[in-house]
Symmetry: C2
Subunit: 458 residues, 2 copies
């Protein structure tokens, strides 16, 4: 792309497509943004599909880079840790770090509206809604769209095409047909349904608002995100089969039974529980991996279209935003003469990171459901926080590396595997635990890490 003005077609005006439009318009291009859904600025999302998300450091950095971070923070609720709800109603607050780091809980639709307003307001971006992409010509590149209201067919040919059209990407489907394209999609045997906790009529919040709330119950769980209108969105995660599951909870009575026994403290906060549960769709969770993401100097996939991950780590949008920043840097560094090289460089940088966060997200899903209330897990987390507190130069827990640093996901994964062995040792030897913070233990940790770096077995 570089300095010469080009017409760029982006399929998908969701979070990643909108942010990419901002990045590319800043580079001087004429951006044509197509979306099959109605304009979210005039149409509320369908009920049960609001889908909260949490922005972390890497997503915010990509927004800040185009001066959109401040506005995003203003419509978010910062959460400094997890509030764990036991069955008996006991609460335990687990801070993410001891350094005040926060995730920013935000409604997907609010963030999407903000990004579209920003893109259009700054100029250079033209949005076309309710245009479903029905055909993709990779070689041109060009897309054919059908207007979902009028049925009218239109075609747009451009200099480049970016597929930001989500986990079921039409652009990717064409690449899957046409090219030697490795592709995997794998579903979890679980899904979630959204439930609404309204703000209390007298003001304030129904639950502590500076936390993500979790009710871990083994193979099912409830998880709650604060919204800026003082409501909460809860997601009930359950398997498709077994008990409890979408197959077993088929009557209001069965649903209320489940909440009375498993989530008694949440029940009074959910006046529309039965209606929400039986009218909202189940949202499935899928991991999508593919290669190659690019076609010559013409087409590239970005965001969920390139790498769909399960939502447990809250990294879907953050990873997609990082894609935008990296792609933009690659294009600027290569200049207009080597766009193909820039696209390849973008994939080379992002694909291993996308694979790493896909694996970490699957791991974290199990951890959230099963381990968050396990005393051994909690002790481990506490020791990790203490080591991080005492020796931040040596050690950063995985969650902090993923959410509160800009370290590549691959590096976070690699460092975590080294660090695990060290925490195992500390956990195994009470005398060491008691001496945490001493020069002696610090030296032992440093030595152990150096040995790992040299390639010794950890």
């Amino acid at each position: 792309l570089g300095a010469d003005r080009e017409t760029v077609l982006i399929c998908g005006a969701g979070l990643v497509g909108s942010l990419l439009a901002i990045y590319l318009a800043r580079m001087g291009h004429d951006v044509q943004l197509f979306e099959r859904h109605p304009d979210p600025r005039s149409h509320p999302p369908p009920s049960g599909r609001s889908i909260n998300l949490t922005l972390c450091d890497r997503g915010l950095a990509a927004l800040d880079h185009v001066d959109a971070g401040r506005a995003a923070r203003e419509i978010s609720v910062p959460c400094k840790g997890r509030m764990i709800h036991a069955v008996d109603g006991a609460l335990e607050f687990q801070p993410y770090t001891n350094r005040g780091h926060a995730l920013y809980s935000i409604a997907r639709n609010d963030l999407n509206r903000l990004l579209l307003d920003t893109a259009i307001g700054r100029g250079g971006v033209h949005c076309h809604f309710e245009k479903k992409c029905v055909e993709v010509d990779l070689a041109a590149p060009a897309c054919t769209f059908r207007d979902t209201r009028t049925g009218e067919i239109s075609e747009l040919r451009a200099r480049r095409l970016f597929g930001a059209d989500g986990v079921h990407s039409a652009v990717r489907r064409e690449m899957q047909k046409a090219l030697r394209f490795d592709f995997t999609q794998k579903y979890l045997d679980q899904a979630y349904k959204e439930l609404h906790v309204p703000p209390p009529p007298g003001g304030g919040w129904a639950l502590a608002h500076s936390a993500i709330h979790i009710w871990p119950r083994g193979h099912y769980m409830l998880i709650g995100f604060p919204n800026i209108d003082r409501s909460f969105t809860l997601a009930l995660h359950m398997p498709y089969d077994g008990h409890p599951s979408y197959a077993s909870i088929t009557s209001p009575e069965a649903l209320l039974d489940l909440f009375r026994t498993s989530f008694p403290d949440a029940l009074p906060l959910l006046p529309a529980l039965v209606e929400d549960f039986f009218s909202h769709p189940e949202t499935s969770m899928v991991t999508v991996q593919c290669s190659s993401w690019t076609y010559l100097d013409r087409v590239a996939l970005i965001g969920d279209a390139a790498h769909g991950i399960v939502p447990s780590y809250g990294q879907g949008a953050n990873a997609g935003f990082e894609d935008c920043a990296v792609l933009s840097t690659c294009l600027q560094q290569a200049g207009p003469g080597d766009v193909q090289g820039a696209l390849q460089q973008y994939e080379r940088q992002r694909k291993p990171n996308a694979d790493a966060i896909a694996a970490l997200s699957l791991e974290h899903f199990i951890e959230l459901r099963e381990l968050v209330s396990d005393p051994k897990f909690l002790l481990r987390k506490e020791i990790e926080r203490r080591i991080y507190d005492l020796h931040p130069d040596l050690y950063m827990p995985l969650y902090a590396m993923v959410s509160f640093s800009l370290m590549p996901y691959t590096e976070a994964l690699r460092r975590d595997r080294m660090q695990r062995g060290i925490v195992d040792e500390i956990l195994a030897i009470p005398e060491v635990r008691d001496k945490l913070g001493s020069e002696e233990v610090r030296a032992a940790i440093a030595e152990r890490l150096q040995a790992c770096e040299r390639g010794a077995v950890c």
Copy 2:
């Protein structure tokens, strides 16, 4: 399906679709068979796309079951082993077994014509060619077709729909969009091109005709199949990149150089080598795995549409034919009242076998290219043949289990893993090798196998 006459729609009139039509018509159904290519009985295949295949016992058994095996054997060339070509022109014949087992080399197009003639000749099957499936409605079930000559659109609704439409199946693509569908496609970094060895003008064959010919050269190879017209079809397997590769062999001179140094004895047999190589397409090789293959009592995938495998083991058509036989048995056993149960039973039986042959085919690809000329590999094969010869009740080599038995692929894989350890031991101890055939060694082998069956580590 069962006793009641139903309209059944089959997408794809390739090998598996045609055979399935024969099976379903025999059960009394009205079979509507749609194919996007022209009728192969009046149109020869495009040059370089003849694609030979080898029928083995399991494919022939599925043909025999509907009285089509004899006619298939009549247009095949039986091959009793592999002829290995060394660079210096030395030949070594490796029989598949010492019991005269043969693979039947046959042109895909000839077999397809035979199956279509059989299906149509016996009645109950209606074929529609040059109809491309452009839309699939799984719930109806129904397909929309576009005539590839006239552009005319037509729709057919049926009681059941079978997707026999190959590795890039349109029916499967709809299931991938609509359902919670696990899917993987993974390409090899190699492809092959077909080359033609004409029959010698004076009669006879250019190469020994009762063998599959292999020129193993590490990461590339040549492999040749006899045709009933006394020609041979050779497939040149090479990587996309590196040397030699499709990227490096870009001139007639480079191609001739490769043949002069690597395949000198094949060169004089290939008068159209340069023309064939530069005009024929590269055929990529892909493994496709997915689940679920079925949708309610309405839709099922079969053959490559359900399980694409790389061609090295020659099992693609054979596995697809076995699918037809198993599906037919499941439908007959369940009866018209439980078609959904029958389809599920078909998938339960076939999916693990499809996964097993996918893994074995990838393994065998490496073996063919790299190991066939390795002396240790050859010694191993010889010992396996001897044990099989001496103790056929105890031991059957993997190749024989896959190609010359009707044992499920999963069972072949399981038994092979047990047997490997035993051959390792025999290879390691020369005294045992020398006593092969003695009661003592027989007892030791039997005991070892029993220990494996009991779950001991092999």
